[in-house]
């Protein structure tokens, strides 16, 4: 009897339908899914390092794999997701690194803008260093 009387804790039902309740939840999830592509791409780089350590033949085979349609499709998707991650990450920097000069806070747009600028310059420098252009 006492068992029936005792209040049972409310267990919130666990569902995934919240995702579709608002576009911002969907955007949040898209951002979170970027981890699959960034993590997957990093594992691909590790596979590349493995082939590089095994000699010229293995490395050429790795480059050949990069030419497969599946690899190209993965790269295009990964590039889109990684870029989305960068944009959301830099847009959040004013929240993570608020900067105060004297009495005033540096405007959000200046903090994220500086990050976007560094990202652009760094990406171009990396591509140039690698001989992409």
């Amino acid at each position: 009897m006492a068992e029936e009387m005792s209040p049972r804790p409310y267990l919130r039902p666990i569902t995934s339908e919240w995702i579709f309740r608002h576009p911002r939840y969907l955007r949040y999830l898209v951002r979170e899914f970027s981890c699959l592509f960034i993590g997957g791409y990093t594992l691909l780089l590790v596979a590349g390092l493995k082939s590089l350590s095994e000699g010229r033949g293995a490395y050429e085979a790795f480059l050949e794999c990069l030419r497969s349609p599946a690899s190209i499709a993965f790269h295009v998707l990964a590039l889109a997701f990684a870029t989305y991650h960068s944009i959301t990450w830099f847009n959040l920097t004013p929240k993570a690194l608020p900067l105060q000069l004297g009495e005033e806070f540096v405007p959000d747009v200046a903090i994220s803008g500086a990050h976007f600028a560094v990202w652009g310059v760094l990406s171009l420098a990396l591509l140039y260093f690698a001989g992409a252009f």
Binding site: E32, L45, H85, G131
Partner: protein, 113 residues
Amino acid sequence: MTRSNKPIVWGPFAAGGTLTAFVTPALIVLTLLAGLGYAPELLGYDRLHAFMGHWLVKLAAIAVVFVSLWSSAHRLRITCYDLGLRADMLVATVVYAVALTGALAAAVFLAGI
């Protein structure tokens, strides 16, 4: 006061989020170009083998691989929880183990270059 392991988990996550935001898109462009038949000079076997042979580059590569995998693992763990998978301890163990194994593998392969 109980000690929290959150900073240990969260530090590499923040570092990885920042690092991948800065360099991952450009890295993807490099291997995408190679896949499309316009391999950048650096990705040639001799150039890359010589470049990756430097100890400083090796250390940097291990750091990049570790924080990239760790931040992805941490995000995946949180996403699993958000999607209703509440076995957090199991998920955390699996994703962090994969991240550590990947970084360790990278270190072993780099040692052989």
